[in-house]
Symmetry: none
């Protein structure tokens, strides 16, 4: 398998002003093309740093992709440095690029500056890769059977140029196909999951690799990867199939499924509607549900009942129950869900009431304790869980648990 | 100035499944502590790769920060590899960590597995850095006057641990005092802002650096940084003071202020309460308001009126106005805010109704168009804006604009 390295050039990444999203995008697309990314390196706009990174990368990799530093300003030194690195300081004007830039400026009614004219120059030993979205063209170099590609750092320009780079690579080398598939699980902590599927993991063929990807909102993802020798999709599918008897309903789909998209699909299948009643999660659950395009087809709306008066006056929870059991209680969670279902005229409703923190806890009801309600056409179910993260972590986890509670309810319901 | 390198370990970064946001965050915070990040390297979960990256980094840098691969599963090999690298394969149980993990599991009513128990082990030659947000502790190594710190890859856990790392570094080495202060602005696009404050920027002393940090949710932040020679705080303060006559109410505070925290403070000052009525933002605004600890003191609650029936039945918007003007209209935005203020018995209410996308637009009302309402004790104000991002971007931007609308209303109101 061909190995690539990505080098991103730019001080703005090293001071943390910009998050390097280019590398992940390039890695995904190299991977799809059957090229493994061995390393990603971010360095400053400095000639020696760039040369040092190139020297090291070419020792390890077959293909070196560089982004950034191709612009017109004084801190953009990648092109000049590459010319020096490949021993061809001579720059030649690339006429199609010059014409393109001149036309681009003319359409905006602007004159071409000397700085912009220089954008059309390329080192004599390079092949120019057109940039249809900007003025800095990409550059392709070959040396000792290694390929070097420099692309602009502006994400949009790089992304538009990348298919051309892949095509040029395909003309040079024979690329394998890599297959990935990621199973989504929720409700089992990573370490418990690892023990639960230990036998399965040990039985995986040597050419199939497994990764655990835990996340507060999505749960633990399980990713299988392999080089495709013709039937990789089927092989991976069968391996994942063997997890269903072990993990059951903890599996909720495959990437890019999310708890909110999966519950949405289940609601659509049932032609059913949903409402929310949130206290401690303060709208996070409704926000996640409505992050799914098309959610207006099943989501009626929600009430963020942050004060007890809203719980009683707007939702209809009995004040004497709040008095007796407290706002964070099974009784109030159940009523919130039932009332939301009725008030918002929905088939299903979920409720969350808890203590997000950092303050507000007691010995009996500690910070992180949440009660959940799931109201269905057949009644209401309740459960509680305690979270031990910070405020935002507790809110995110609680919203996931409520969505997962609804999901399992919708699944059980479907199976009956 | 001390030089650091960041090494992120994890196949998920190299296949592009995860964008490495940790490195940018660490780089910013190293920078604040007066440490320069020289290089960021992402490598796979592979012992030889890790060792090779360590060998190269320690040639160039004084401090090497590693994230990722400290978890309990078989692909997490950073701890084992570090032990080998520093020639001390012997692992010792760190009792406080074991107690912490056991307690964490006990509170969830779970037994400690062997895998979790192993999380509490650390190489004999390392110093353990507590992880208050997870089970994998950080590790600190020293070798040939170089410092190596391994932290978990889960952003939340790493971020919570980082202040301890900085304190440990300060105990070891003398760091220059870098002073940063970040002014928060909202409502002026970066390029317009840059033109507006061009004279001010040109007048900045040579030893003070300025960074523009644009963000959908926070607006454009302006960061001034300098090495402290005794009075940097005052110097920076005076420089920022000169921006108030230029930018006026577009300035809403200094980091860590957010639109939601600033509006919260203004409401507390007025002893006033707030309610929300959201359509297209689907609960995002309520979520942001309730992300602020203590927000229950002023936030009564909100209604996510995702369907027209909820707008009419629960909020009380006139159905004939929805019929006549459409749900995305000035009239409906005004009524939503007024009704929310009344129904939720609050002093102020904000409303948002719009088309988040990707579908649902028309020639007259394109995707991204939003109408906003701000209801106050003195009446209701409305305004509209169009956003041109994707669904989540439009939702985030619209919630910011509504919070900023409330903020300017509260400020104007205070000044009168």
């Amino acid at each position: 398998m061909y190995k690539a390295e990505i080098i991103t050039v730019g001080d703005e990444i090293l001071i943390g002003q910009i998050v390097d999203t280019n590398s992940a995008w390039i890695a995904v697309n190299l991977n799809i093309a059957g090229i493994k990314t061995g390393r990603i390196t971010s360095i400053s706009d400095n000639g020696n740093e760039i040369k040092d990174a190139l020297r090291q990368a070419e020792k390890r990799a077959d293909i070196i992709l560089i982004t950034g530093g191709l612009g017109p300003t004084s801190d953009d030194i990648t092109k000049k440095t590459l010319a020096e690195y490949f021993g061809s300081a001579k720059m030649i004007v690339h006429q199609p690029t010059l014409d393109f830039i001149r036309d681009r400026f003319a359409r905006r009614g602007m004159e071409l500056s000397e700085l912009n004219r220089r954008q059309a120059e390329a080192p004599e030993c390079s092949v120019v890769i057109p940039n249809r979205n900007g003025t800095a063209p990409g550059l392709w170099f070959e040396k000792d059977r290694k390929i070097f590609v420099a692309m602009p750092g502006v994400p949009d320009e790089m992304m538009k140029m990348f298919p051309d780079v892949i095509n040029m690579l395909k003309n040079k080398i024979l690329l394998p196909q890599i297959v990935h598939r990621t199973m989504m699980t929720f409700g089992i902590p990573e370490s418990v999951l690892a023990e639960t599927i230990e036998d399965w993991e040990k039985s995986l063929p040597a050419n199939i690799s497994l990764a655990y990807l835990p996340n507060i909102e999505t749960g633990v993802k399980l990713r299988l990867s392999t080089v495709d020798s013709g039937n990789a999709h089927e092989v991976i599918e069968k391996l994942f199939d063997r997890l269903f008897p072990v993990l059951g309903n903890s599996i909720y789909g495959y990437e890019p499924d999310s708890l909110e998209s999966v519950t949405g699909k289940l609601l659509l299948q049932k032609n059913a509607t949903l409402a929310t009643a949130e206290s401690c999660t303060g709208g996070k659950t409704a926000h996640r549900i409505t992050s799914v395009p098309g959610s207006s087809a099943y989501f009626r709306g929600g009430i963020v009942a942050y004060s007890n008066e809203i719980k009683t006056d707007l939702l209809g929870v009995r004040p004497e129950d709040i008095e007796k059991y407290g706002a964070v209680s099974e009784t109030v969670a159940a009523q919130m869900a039932k009332c939301a279902r009725k008030k918002l005229n929905a088939d299903y409703a979920i409720s969350i009431t808890g203590i997000a923190g950092p303050d507000g806890g007691s010995a009996e009801k500690p910070v992180g304790l949440c009660w959940f309600g799931i109201a269905t056409p057949c009644g209401v179910k309740t459960f509680s869980q305690r979270f031990v993260m910070d405020r935002l972590g507790n809110i995110a986890a609680a919203s996931s648990v409520s969505l997962n509670g609804l999901r399992t309810e919708l699944c059980d319901n479907t199976e009956n």
